[in-house]
Amino acid sequence: MRSLTRGHVKAGFDSVRGAKWRNFWTMLGIIIGVASVITIVSIGEGVKQQISQQINHVGKNVITVRPGTIRTNSTQSKSDFSVLSGLSITGSLRDTDVKTVADNKTISASAPLAAVSTDVKGDHATFNNTFVIGTSPDLPELINQKLAYGVFLSVDDEGMNAAVLGTTIASQLFDTDVPLGHSFKIHGEEFVVRGIFDDFGSTPLSDDANYNNSIFIPYDVAQRITKNTAVVYEILAKTESASAVSPTLSSLQKSIKKNHGDQNDFSVLRAEQSLAARSNVLSLLTNLISGVAAISLLVGGIGIMNVMLVSVAERMHEIGIRKAIGATNRQIMSQFMIESSLLSLSGGVIGVIVALIFDGLMRFFTNLRPVISWQVVLLAFGVSLAVGIIFGTIPALKAARKDPIEALRSQL
């Protein structure tokens, strides 16, 4: 029986190879399905890994204060959708909140992040929509980021037009490699470059701006040039020790609530929480898109069924011959099942290869780092095999149940 199966596998390969183009079009559904499922899952997986790296990067005892309420798993949200809506900002953070956080006794370092949307004028060109962030001298410590050149803003710089640049914007603004001491214009005011950050790890798909493309200026300067309209979208704070995080969290919660007139329109989050909210949304999106991609697998399966039905009709005479020389119904059935499984499995293999190519392209052209795990690949093979078996059953049954005389009589 084993040797017969081998014969069927060989015959299946022959027939797949025999009608190359027709079979390619048939497999296309499976190829697209498998490739898109793997690509999407791998992007999701890659982003999750990058996020968890960020947690380690930021440090466990960093507290994030954000406007709006963000529900995370720790508050037992009823459905994933509340996470999506939770991310929309409903409240705002004020100057007083920045002070409250900074004045808290257990907090050793804190930095507001205030966005200033404005034009930036460099040596040659004007950049609009550059992300200018008003912040405090503690920022490098809070986000564990070193400077490549120069120094970060210090306490002495408060009120001064000093700036620190991300690597990307630094090379775009100036001709020189290390533009320390050079000046450029924000909001019509002259700013002097104090330092340049090391390359930030990428922040893919996150709601944070890309820091490599950001300009950091003192917080009070940011409020001054925008006439106090710079939006504080986040306050980072660090406690002295990890054990102080929980009490600090609740005391911050209380004091900011007082500032906001007893309204809970803000969130005080641990490092894990603030990132978990993001990865929840991400897994939801990944699941949704994979679901859509899985539908194309289904469509591909139907395509395979159609081609197998045609193939059975075309090869009716062959079925008759095989039956006449003693093939049982089961043997005929297994022959066609093996053929359809081979068809969809080769679709799966090509799909995996396409996904690998996509993966390479994405790594090359974007800051995404998709991770194709062997489980996903195995699952893709399993699913495509299952599609072949499920959708191969009807044509195979049709072939197996054919009356031998009728089959023999049907000439091409």
């Binding site: 025999g18 003693g326 093939a327 089961r330």
Partner: protein, 294 residues
């Protein structure tokens, strides 16, 4: 015990008004080692008889035992196994699988039996040697001549060592030289003790048979033993006294054989017999030339 015992076997196709009686209470006993030719005009039920005996078709009524086993009501899978183990088929149009090599074609019945790959290829190769086309092992069927293809088909029929070989017009698609080759081969197989059943339109080929069965309208109307090497008595009538049919007969689809059947009044055309030739091609050629003349 007889190899084949048919007792009032009937086969009805279709239902109600559209039903046709393809086999009408045929009773036939064939002993082991017989070489039986079955003759009869088109639509006389020869092929149906072959299909029933070959277990490709189930009789509607009647008893049928093959090699002592009642096989009239076998399930499809059981009859497939009986076909595989006891019957070898040879068809008019060879019916080799076009995508497999000659060797793989011959080895196929063994595969369905579960013989290992190396073993079955070896057996198939031996069988091809026996039919004399071992040098064509790796050819595709399309690369063979008709005679060679039929030899390969015979090898395939023989490879499972069947007790019974059923050949439905084995020489129908072959020229006379290839026909001879194929029939000599069948005769040789018969000498080794096999039972062979074959359908033919060619009275000349009854030389190879030990027994000739004539059919008409689903009935077995005549059954005679004949000596090897001699044309059967009834068939000889067709061959020597009726060289051809009239044009009207051709149009009506009446063959010479039908008119020569013993219990039918024969209408003889007033024509002299010309050369000795095979019946069927002659009829075709004549009618064509007759039409061309018009």
């Amino acid at each position: 015990m007889a190899l084949i015992e048919l007792n009032e076997v009937s086969k009805v196709y279709g239902f109600g008004d559209a039903s046709t009686l393809a086999l009408d209470e045929a009773t036939l006993t064939i002993e082991k080692g017989e070489f039986v030719a079955i003759m009869g005009p088109s639509g006389s039920g020869k092929s149906t008889l072959m299909n029933v005996i070959g277990l490709l078709d189930r009789p509607s009524h009647g008893k049928f035992s093959l090699d002592g086993r009642n096989v009239a009501k076998l399930r499809p899978n059981q009859s497939a196994k009986v076909r595989r183990d006891t019957i070898g088929f040879i068809f008019q149009s060879f019916n080799l699988l076009p995508r497999l090599s000659v060797l793989e074609n011959v080895a196929l019945p063994l595969a369905y039996r579960g013989v290992s790959l190396s073993k079955r290829l070896k057996q198939a190769s031996n069988m091809l040697e026996r039919v004399g086309i071992q040098n064509r092992e790796y050819f595709l069927p399309s690369q063979l001549s008709g005679g060679q293809a039929q030899c390969a088909a015979i090898a395939r029929a023989l490879v499972n060592n069947p007790k019974l070989i059923i050949a439905d017009e084995p020489t129908g698609n072959l020229d006379s030289a290839a026909s001879r080759l194929v029939m000599e081969l069948l005769a040789e197989i018969h000498k080794t003790g096999n039972t062979i059943l074959f359908v033919t339109h060619n009275p000349e080929l009854t030389r190879y048979a030990t027994r000739v069965v004539y059919m008409h309208d689903g009935c077995i109307i005549h059954d005679e033993k004949t000596a090897l090497g001699q044309v059967a008595a009834t068939a000889r009538k067709v061959l020597y006294t009726l060289s051809t049919t009239t044009e009207d007969d051709d149009l009506a689809g009446v063959s010479a054989l039908m008119m020569a059947l013993p219990n039918k009044p024969t209408v003889r055309p007033a024509r002299k017999p010309t050369k000795r030739r095979t019946a069927k091609p002659t009829v075709r050629r004549k009618s064509k030339t007759a039409k061309a003349a018009k």
